[in-house]
């Protein structure tokens, strides 16, 4: 047959080096990311969302600043408003970010599958890892665009004073990482579930789980972590009658009392994105906590306090006497919250969740595929 001859003559096409499921190349990654971003940028919906975001965050910043000016009186004070405005804006940006990020990635794989464009990429020489990480990069970049749109307001709050530039840096960095994690979780679910609405719901549930359910669990575990112990207390002298006009003497006593060992359960708070963002800033001076009204600093103090847990002797004496006269010196050190960081644990846990999402997605995109999820179509 003539066909035979032709084939023999035809030089065999050079077989490119085999690349496995997890092979990554800058070229492949960029191809997928550019493809995804192009599609996103061209949808007007996305632009609208970004504009609405900018306006809403701007409005919140304005309202907060205005409210603060009214609360703090005639407005002519030298008081810094930065702390409160800053913490409200950051909290709000994070809250909105947690709402928006799942929508950016939770349809990335099953949406393509339903539109019939996923297999088109799978048959090419892109590896599953390149497809997944490219999509993750695109979703993350989109999420970061929202973050960038909020930076002017964060800087505005910073100008108000009371917050360090370093805090802005750590906050933005943590916000970025947390949003990336949420995108990765969404991507994982979008590879597993066939409907985009289903993967969105699962992503919201997961984010809700680490944001709300774990802290609630922490609260519910308070009785279980509270024990009755003998504690050394600096207490009012025995036999002191409260009719006396002199301050009571204080003395060391040993009393049975309830001690909350929050140092056993603090880690339940750690994965919470708000905790991660708050705890990553430099630890402030507890003395000024109340003045700044920086809620992030308060939150940070709270989780550090929880991690410190049982701090030994307690002072039940100092300050209980309301009458006149000198207050006795207290030998009990005021509680020093730990300088051990909480956020690396929380962020570590969150990053593991995100990594799990990526691994699941890559495994689901392996070709040839052995099994199809219920109701999915490869093409």
């Amino acid at each position: 047959m003539s066909a035979e001859v032709e084939v023999v003559e035809q030089a065999p096409a050079p077989v490119p080096g085999t690349r496995g499921t997890w092979s990554l190349s800058w070229h492949g990654l960029r191809t997928v990311t550019v493809l995804e971003l192009r599609q996103r940028v061209r949808s007007t919906r996305w632009k609208t969302a970004l504009i609405v975001w900018f306006l809403v965050v701007g409005l919140i910043t304005m309202l907060t600043t205005g409210a603060f000016a009214i609360i703090s009186g005639d407005g002519g004070t030298d008081e810094t408003f930065g702390g409160m405005v800053y913490s409200i804006v950051v909290g709000f940006v994070l809250f909105l970010g947690l709402l928006v990020a799942p929508t950016l990635s939770s349809g990335a794989i099953n949406g393509d599958r339903n539109a019939g464009t996923l297999a088109t990429l799978q048959v090419t020489l892109l590896t599953p890892a390149e497809i997944v990480l490219g999509k993750l990069a695109a979703a993350w970049i989109a999420a970061l665009a929202f973050l960038v749109a909020s930076i002017p307001f964060l800087v505005w709050a910073l100008v108000g004073g009371g917050v360090s530039w370093l805090a802005l840096l750590t906050t933005v960095l943590m916000l970025a990482l947390v949003l990336g994690v949420v995108c990765a979780i969404g991507l994982g679910f979008s590879a597993v579930v066939s409907k985009t609405s289903g993967s969105a719901v699962l992503t919201y549930l997961t984010v809700g789980g680490i944001t709300a359910v774990l802290p609630i669990l922490f609260g519910l575990l308070v009785p279980a972590t509270t024990t009755t112990e003998s504690v050394r207390v600096w207490a009012v002298e025995a036999g002191y009658t409260w009719e006396e006009t002199t301050a009571p003497e204080c003395e060391w006593q040993t009393q049975e009392t309830q001690v909350w060992h929050s140092e056993h359960t603090w880690w339940l708070l750690a994965p919470n994105p708000f905790v991660v963002v708050a705890d990553a800033q430099p630890l402030g001076d507890p003395e000024t906590l109340g003045e700044d009204e920086n809620m992030l600093a308060v939150l940070q103090y709270g989780v550090r306090y929880a991690r410190t847990g049982d701090s030994g002797p307690q002072d039940w004496c100092t300050g209980v006497y309301m009458g006149e006269g000198p207050q006795p010196e207290s030998p009990v050190e005021p509680v020093q919250v730990t300088d051990q960081l909480v956020w690396p644990w929380g962020l570590g846990f969150d990053l593991l969740l995100g990594a799990a999402g990526v691994i699941v997605a890559v495994n689901r995109l392996r070709v040839p595929t052995a099994r199809l999820a219920q109701g999915t179509r490869v093409a």
Binding site: M1, T18, T31, Q39, A119, V123, P368, T369
Partner: protein, 306 residues
């Protein structure tokens, strides 16, 4: 035939739960030839092509695509396969040109070559004037042509085309046919699944019939030794049938038409019949094959199944 080239599938099987989409398919498509994959709806054509394209693992059987096993050497097989799915989405917001350059990049072709290749292919499928329009403004047939161009971006050795002709206008169908023939002449292996059998007649060299997930027949289209039906018409139908009753081969009347159908083997037999009919004074107005080779083979198989 070299063991390397083309498509070879043996005993391929694939089920989805209780549904045996592909039960037992043997298929050989040789380089330099166009092979038609023919079967009724739901016979497992698309599933088979997905396995050949390296997207689905077969439950059993072996596949070789240009010498590579899509299960164990998926990457190598993918690099040589061009696949055009039956229903496909396009990235709607991308222009036709961007679709092709993106696919080129996905096949690790550098940007400059990719751009040149995209221009070339757009020319080939007559989409140059829509090159910079977003893909969602393209009609169904134009999208189909874009899909064909997409399958050709990396100049594959093996082409798997799932219903490439659906939605194409007559002009595009002719173009498609010419293109298929040209690709085969370049030594490529072309496997086409289709329902439009008359078209495959002119396009395909070989045909593989599958039904309910099994290969039921394999034949060469150019095979002249098989008996096939010819349609014979005369001015006087009565005289024709009278003559045929006496001298001619077995015939049957076609319903609602004066023509009769006779089964003949080869063109020589047709010429002989025509000559003797004319010599006997029958005013024959036409003698032509009734339907395509593939159509007849297909219908015959359908018949057997009943």
């Amino acid at each position: 035939m070299t063991p390397d080239g083309g498509i070879r599938a043996q005993g391929v099987r694939r089920s989805f739960g209780p549904v045996h989409a592909v039960a037992d398919v043997d298929l050989v498509a040789a380089p330099g030839r166009v092979t038609a994959l023919i079967g009724p709806n739901g016979s497992g054509k698309t599933t088979l092509l997905l396995m050949l394209a390296g997207l689905l693992t077969p439950d059993a059987g072996t596949i070789s695509i240009a010498g590579a096993d899509p299960v164990t050497q998926n990457y190598a097989a993918r690099s040589r396969t061009g696949w055009m799915p039956d229903v496909f989405g396009t990235w709607d917001s991308l222009t036709a040109r961007e679709v092709l350059t993106t696919v080129a990049a996905a096949y690790r072709i550098d940007a400059a070559t990719g751009r040149a290749r995209a221009g070339e292919l757009l020319e080939l499928v007559h989409l140059s004037e829509f090159a910079d329009q977003p893909a969602h403004v393209l009609s169904r047939g134009q999208k189909q042509r874009l899909g064909l161009a997409r399958a050709l971006v990396h100049d594959p050795d093996v082409l798997l085309l799932d219903e490439p002709a659906s939605g194409l206008d007559p002009r595009s169908r002719v173009d498609l046919r010419v293109l298929m023939r040209r690709l085969a002449a370049e030594g490529k292996t072309v496997l086409v699944s289709s329902h439009v059998l008359t078209e495959l007649d002119e396009m395909a060299d070989d045909a593989v019939f599958i039904s309910r997930g099994r290969t039921v027949a394999t034949q060469s289209v150019a095979d002249g030794d098989r008996p096939r039906e010819w349609r014979l018409t005369a001015l006087d139908a009565e005289a024709l049938t009278a003559w045929l009753d006496e001298n001619g081969p077995a015939y049957r009347r076609e319903s609602d038409s004066p023509a009769v159908l006779v089964e003949l083997t080869g063109d020589a037999a047709a010429a002989a019949l025509l000559r003797s009919a004319v010599e006997a004074g029958i005013d024959v107005s036409s003698l032509a094959p009734a339907g395509g080779v593939l159509e007849q083979a297909y219908l015959a198989l359908e018949e057997e199944r009943r």
